[in-house]
Symmetry: C2
Subunit: 365 residues, 2 copies
């Protein structure tokens, strides 16, 4: 059985310790910050967010699931920017893998700048937005209104413009998010997508996994990744790698590393990384691999080995065996990763809550 | 009217010269290479490739176009890895913008490793592959065979496995490609996608633009980008940026910079780059913007200015005004970019034809 954590070459044997994000005291020497960064505090709220989602979203999800079973869409479209874009990609893989529904990424520029219309008869549109304010997403959903799509919004802030532009709004239940870098709201969106698929299939095991998510997220926060802080030290650029739904996790991780820690990181599918990007393998490139326990696992191990052979440092993280569904394992790994990104950012003398040049709401047109 | 070339801060005024890739003599001092690299020679074949495509593909495209008008697909799926993946994304934007057909990226892992099936009734699947050998693409198209999709392959090598797994194979007509880094075959795939849309719409102006492509590609090879070689000097990572179909060009450019020049480059939509990635803006980040002359142009100019204000060097390239269609402008810019990537690679003491660790055919499963 493959290990659920491995660093290549074995960092742990070289004396690297367990990653322990600071939990008390001002978060940077000489700074008068809070005891926890917002990013860490909000990540640690994730099990509570999951519990609220199960309590409040289960009934609407069951109703929506029954409606979708009764009249299945011919295809789906998911929409979101930034971290919500990662959640959208996660939804695409879940819809295709578990429902057989082809899912496209929305191109909001089509309506917002090109003024075109799409044939959306019998389609499902899922728009994800923490703030619910992005003008392009709102415009996209408004334009979809006349085209025959069922529009579902996953939104954290009640009363937003997006809420008024969809047929059904599902609250993310993440509560106020103070950190510019989204964490709990992205986890909530991924959980909600998983819950939607579980109820759409009316799949007992998936529904049970959804209802067990507070436990998974709680365990995720306590997961030990020996050597992880050593691995994250330094300026070398980094590839984050996943396969299937793991690619969405890798994308969100790369975004966070850029946004908070200032590390140049890019996500790849393990199927894509050998087409060109592998040319950069070598000592000046690190590789972080998110490996769910499914048919993709063997290939992910091989990719780790290929990079190791090329001289790169690689870290592969996975979930302890046989505890939950592969997609839920990935949400757990992302939860734990947020703590690592927070700690890495602090080590680099930066504040994860206030990334340079970014605002909480980016109003893309 | 905005300029069709601009470097921010204005590099040209600081005495930077016109980029002139070496055309004669061994390509690296001390090396016994050919007079031209394969990459440069193959890029320079692009106008001939376009002429062959027009001669040989126009009739099959007209027939396919008539068939698609007679029974339009409900949605489309495009598939391809590496440079063919960029051409697939180009097709997505063209299908959505000019035909209103929602287009998804294929997830070949669904059939190749997860064994799932998709509801593909009344869909169009376009698979793009230079070699026609990728097992996952072949498997995806084979699996789609029983699901009710019309499967079109765009393939450069005759008699490939992919040819046997599609309903209609359209040859890329690029001729043998010796460079590991694809150039003319990627341009051919993008031209073929443009030609398909032109004939599907039966749009006189687009068909004329397709038929004028040898001229556009010829002019592209002679395009002057003053200061470009200065801009490309150095190790600083780079964002390539586009909007709409320009994002596909930016993706291919970033892939080439990694693959050949060893520069860490990543592509972003101008709509996405302010969600997180902008945190890395500053003197250690360069930005290369591909700007077609359409409704996206104004936003692309603003992105260039935002990065310039943050201290990054930016270079925006566009096509001389009013000569052809926006999508064709972008194919021209990519043609010219290939010469720049080739020259940059040589400047860095590398061979563009033999990127480290890569093979011509990557057999992803």
């Amino acid at each position: 059985m493959p290990p659920f954590y491995r660093a290549y070459p074995a960092l742990a044997s070289r004396g690297a310790g367990v990653c322990k994000p600071a939990r008390t005291g001002p978060y940077l020497a000489g700074m008068t910050g809070p005891a926890l960064t917002h990013m860490e505090a909000e990540t640690r709220e994730a099990p509570d967010v999951a519990a609220r989602l199960i309590e409040r979203a289960s009934k609407p999800l069951a109703e929506l699931g029954a409606r979708l079973r009764a009249s299945p869409p011919r295809f789906a479209i998911t929409a979101g920017r930034g971290s919500s874009g990662a959640a959208s990609l996660f939804a695409k893989y879940l819809f295709e893998q578990h429902l057989g529904i082809v899912t496209a990424s929305a191109t909001p520029s089509l309506s917002s700048i090109y003024g075109g219309t799409l044939d959306l008869r019998e389609s499902l549109v899922v728009a994800i937005s923490q703030s619910g304010q992005s003008p392009d997403l709102v415009g996209y959903c408004r334009a979809a209104g006349g085209q025959g799509a069922l529009r579902v919004g996953m939104i954290n802030v009640a009363g937003s413009n997006l809420e008024g532009a969809v047929d059904l709004a599902l609250p993310l239940e993440a509560g106020p998010e103070k950190s510019v870098a989204a964490t709990k709201s992205c986890l909530a969106a991924m959980l909600l997508c998983f819950g939607l698929v579980a109820h759409w299939r009316n799949d007992r095991e998936m529904i049970a996994a959804f209802e067990g998510s507070p436990d998974v997220l709680g365990r995720a926060l306590a997961l030990e990744w020996p050597g992880a802080s050593d691995f994250m030290t330094g300026d070398a650029p980094l590839y984050t790698i996943g396969r299937g739904p793991g690619l969405a996790i890798a994308k969100e991780a790369a975004l966070k590393l850029k946004e908070t820690a200032g590390v140049f990181a890019q996500a790849y599918s393990s199927a894509e990384v050998l087409h060109g990007p592998f040319a950069l393998a070598g000592p000046n490139l690190r590789v972080l691999i998110f490996a769910q326990r499914d048919a993709a696992r063997e290939g992910l191990d091989k990719i780790a080995e290929a990079f190791e052979e090329a001289g790169s440092r690689a870290m592969l993280v996975a979930w302890p065996p046989n505890e939950t569904q592969p997609a839920m394992e990935l949400i757990g790994l992302l939860t734990r990763f947020y703590l690592l990104a927070n700690a890495t950012t602090l080590q680099r003398g930066r504040s994860p809550d206030q990334p340079p040049r970014l605002r909480k709401v980016t109003e893309t047109r």
